[in-house]
Amino acid sequence: MLTGFLSVLQLSDSAFPSGRYTLSSGLETLAQTGRLATPGDPALLSALLGDHLRLAVAPSDGIGLVCAHRATATPDSLDLELVTSADERLTAVKLSREARETSTRTGRALLRVATSTFGARAVSHYARHVQSGRSPGNHAVVLGVVSACLGVPRPESVAGELFAFSANWVAAAVRLAVTDHSTAQAVLHEVRPVMAEAALHVVDKDVPDIASCTPLLDVMAMLHEESELRLFAS
């Protein structure tokens, strides 16, 4: 059991080479358009991160992840139909181009590392499927397959992903100068119950439940594509 816990730490580590640190998920546009002051109000940062988690990341990527996890009964067996339908629906609910591109780019990076490092048959099976263009290879879906192979239970897998998203988001906030290191950790601590609740809320959901509803954050993600001066890829 402790090895599963250690795998969560490894997969959610900011040093894991999936390229997540290049993403701001619209935060850069919030800062550039003056919607966040420098420094921004910590309560507003927590509320924005909470909306991301509850209304976008958990019900879309989170459910994609749990479906992929469920599709991976053992490290040697994969329900390709289920994992692909989750992968395809996840792409279908990402209405901004950058959101789709960054999700599949980080997904492929994770697949490369996982294939060469973890050696589970289900992972290489799915990697071939993605390489041949039969599945989009979204990061959350790849992570679901990998986590299941590494013996991480579903709730921990989703919670780990929500944490990794949040830790990266507050790190981006520091780089964008909308907060400082210490406040960033306070925000991360503050949203901990939101992560836990959102993870448990989606852990038993299924492919048709994959959805996302954050209109303002969507507009920010779309406007980011037009931005010429940028630090982040989303």
């Binding site: 919607r35 507003l44 509320a47 924005l48 909470g50 909306d51 991301h52 509850r54 209304l55 976008a56 395809e88 629906r89 792409t91 279908a92 609910v93 990402k94 209405l95 901004s96 181009r97 950058e98 789709r100 048709p208 994959i210 959805a211 996302s212 509803c213 954050t214 209109p215 303002l216 954050l217 969507d218 507009v219 920010m220 993600a221 779309m222 406007l223 594509e225 037009e226």
Partner: protein, 312 residues
């Protein structure tokens, strides 16, 4: 067709738990499934002698249409259909279903006569199921007037679109915060709309959800949801004749000078077109911006700018 008499025929499947919790027995009004509560509108339109005409029409109260009109001098073949709802709006217990089949080569514009009011619900909720099918080379514009959800209203709507690869579809929705003149803003219990687009083989192209629950998870006042704006609108433009990056550039240009709205444009998944998401403070500003985006897309894709719809 006895199926149309069936309550299940009119009700979306797999309704969310958050809606079903409102599924009580209607105490002061017509029960769910009663006559007048399961509106049906089933239309097919096809090109006949140079004009798109209604070739199949079945309607049951409270839904109906009048004869289509032809009001666009730039597209004299295009049928303009105005959906009507008897009794002023949507009330609890309503289970309405609209099916619109646009046959290959047809050109159809569907709108409403006025904004759609959703009245307060005490015991139950209302649903609308809208199935749109657009055949090869056909054009469908589905642009209803804004929805006005009253205090305490509960609406679930599912719009399911199936479109041929070379069809042109412009699909829009605008949500107002309520009866602004009564200082009513986002006081409904629940407003939940799902839009799903498929190709003719049933492959999902994109899916979008607007799930708003004031005072709960999904509060429209939350900064990532409407972020202090009152009005949200979405426009989907699907067309294979223009590349998605060009379509995005066209819509961004059209919206660049539009005042008082915050609008984002991006490419839809599966390379099937572009999406516009828009937020604003007034109905006038958002409706004007939506019309500008629609007209810009229409000029390139349908061959004529947005016509005067004569709604007064």
């Amino acid at each position: 067709m006895t199926r149309r008499d069936d309550l299940a025929w009119c009700t979306p499947t797999e309704l969310p738990e958050e809606l079903l919790t409102f599924g009580g027995t209607v105490r002061d009004g017509l029960a769910v499934g009663a006559p007048g509560k399961t509106g049906v509108l089933d239309l097919a339109l096809a090109q006949r002698a140079g004009r798109t005409k209604v070739i199949r029409q079945y309607q049951r109260a409270p839904l109906h249409i009048y004869r289509p009109i032809y009001l666009d001098p730039g597209r004299p073949d295009m049928a303009f259909v105005f959906l009507q709802q008897q009794g002023d709006g949507i009330v609890q217990g309503d289970r309405c279903r609209v099916d619109i089949d646009c046959e290959p080569g047809s050109a159809v514009h569907v709108t409403t006569q006025a904004s759609t009011k959703v009245f307060a619900a005490r015991d139950n909720f209302a649903t609308q199921l809208i199935n749109l099918r657009v055949g090869a080379g056909a054009v469908l514009e589905y642009l209803p007037d804004p929805v006005v959800p009253f205090r305490g209203s509960r609406l679930f709507q599912r719009t399911s679109l199936s479109a041929a690869e070379d069809a042109t579809v412009i699909l829009g929705e605008i949500l107002l915060p309520g009866r602004v003149a009564h200082d009513e803003a986002h006081a409904y219990d629940l407003y939940w709309t799902e839009t799903e687009a498929y190709d003719l083989d049933g492959k999902l192209l994109f899916a979008d959800t607007l799930r708003l629950r004031p005072g709960q998870v999904g509060d429209p006042r939350s900064p990532g949801v409407l972020g202090g704006y009152d009005i949200v609108a979405t426009l989907f433009v699907m067309c294979s004749r223009m590349s998605p990056p060009d379509l995005v550039a066209l819509l961004r240009d059209a919206l660049a000078e539009v005042p008082d709205v915050l609008a984002g444009v991006s490419e839809l998944p599966a390379g099937c077109g572009a999406a516009v998401r828009m937020l604003g403070h007034t109905s006038t500003a958002v409706q004007a911006a939506m019309r500008t985006a629609w007209s810009g897309a229409r000029t390139s894709l349908v061959g004529a700018p947005a016509p005067d719809l004569r709604k007064g």
